[in-house]
């Protein structure tokens, strides 16, 4: 199989980074950054999701086709969010 290269050390390292990022997102929420609070929280969550995807779900070792399938899900989600919020953001008077 393609992904025997991922060692247990990598799993533990990724896990520790994920826990550190959890701490960071809780700490960042306690600081008033205005609208940046939301962006920081989503940025940290995205980094965590990418780490889980690449290392725990072995996306780095999958075939191109599988990676395209994985990214397609997020691409459609991006379309859904983009079109919905470009509508809501440009409505006059809500």
């Amino acid at each position: 199989m393609a992904h025997e290269s991922v060692s247990r050390t990598v799993y533990f390292a990724v896990f520790l980074i994920l826990v550190a990022l959890l701490g960071a997102t809780v700490a960042a929420a306690e600081i008033d950054l205005g609208r940046w609070n939301f962006l920081v929280a989503m940025a940290i969550a995205t980094v965590k999701a990418v780490l889980i995807g690449i290392y725990f779900m072995h996306l780095e070792a999958q075939s191109q086709l599988t990676r395209v399938f994985a990214l397609a899900g997020f691409a459609w989600l991006a379309l859904l969010l983009l079109l919905t919020f470009s509508d809501f953001a440009t409505r006059a008077g809500g």
Binding site: L18, G73, F85
Partner: protein, 212 residues
């Protein structure tokens, strides 16, 4: 030909091709899951941008410490299931079973904590419906927040429950000796599913618990 030990279905040329198809199929399923939860995330986004103060006020009724603990529990369960897949790749069946049981215990802990939180919301009259009561001017839109909270965390909990059932099946397969270093899609695909459910929670936690 590789020793397929009877695992190779007749419509595949090789175990590698069969493995590739299984992984691809799982990711296709996960893509539909992304959009299933995506609809709820979109609804959440629309209402949060429409009623930001109500969402802040309602979010304060969620316990950040409990949410942080449960996030750590799920992250740990992702580690144990990743190690289970690693053990399967190296043919250590007893380790696979031990790690899958550990993952199930962590998943069960998550659900137990969630049940405790739901009970607390019930006592506080924060279940949307006739009994809903919320002090302050934001009551109707706080109710909207709690509707989203229960639907999103409820569907997430349902996914955890399904994961636990699938893992019981994986333990049975492993105990029967049907998980080998060359062929262990049950362990691997269950791992993919479990990591996906973890990723959903990674987004739910800040969106629901950490609005300030």
């Amino acid at each position: 030909m590789v020793h397929d030990a009877g695992f190779l279905a007749h419509h595949f040329d090789s175990l590698e091709q069969q493995h590739e198809a299984a992984t691809l199929g799982m990711w296709l399923f996960l893509a539909t899951e992304i959009l299933f939860f995506g609809g709820m995330f979109t609804a959440y986004g629309v209402y949060r941008t429409s009623y930001p103060q109500a969402f802040v006020a309602a979010s304060h009724h969620l316990n950040v410490a409990i949410g942080t603990f449960n996030t750590a529990v799920l992250l740990t369960s992702s580690l144990t299931v990743a190690l289970a897949v690693h053990a399967a790749e190296h043919g250590r069946s007893r380790t696979v079973i031990g790690l899958v049981i550990a993952t199930m215990l962590l998943g069960g802990t998550f659900l137990g904590v969630k049940a405790f939180e739901y009970h607390h919301k019930f006592v506080e009259h924060l279940i949307p419906g006739h009994g809903f009561s919320f002090a302050g001017p934001h009551s109707p839109h706080a109710q909207l927040f709690f509707s989203l909270y229960f639907v999103m965390t409820g569907f997430h909990a349902l996914h955890i429950l399904i994961g636990l059932a699938v893992m019981a099946f994986v333990i049975r397969l492993t105990a029967q000796g049907r998980v080998t270093p060359e062929h262990h899609p049950a362990v691997e695909l269950t791992g993919l599913y479990w990591h996906f459910v973890d990723i959903i929670w990674v987004f739910l936690f800040p969106l629901l618990y950490l609005i300030r």
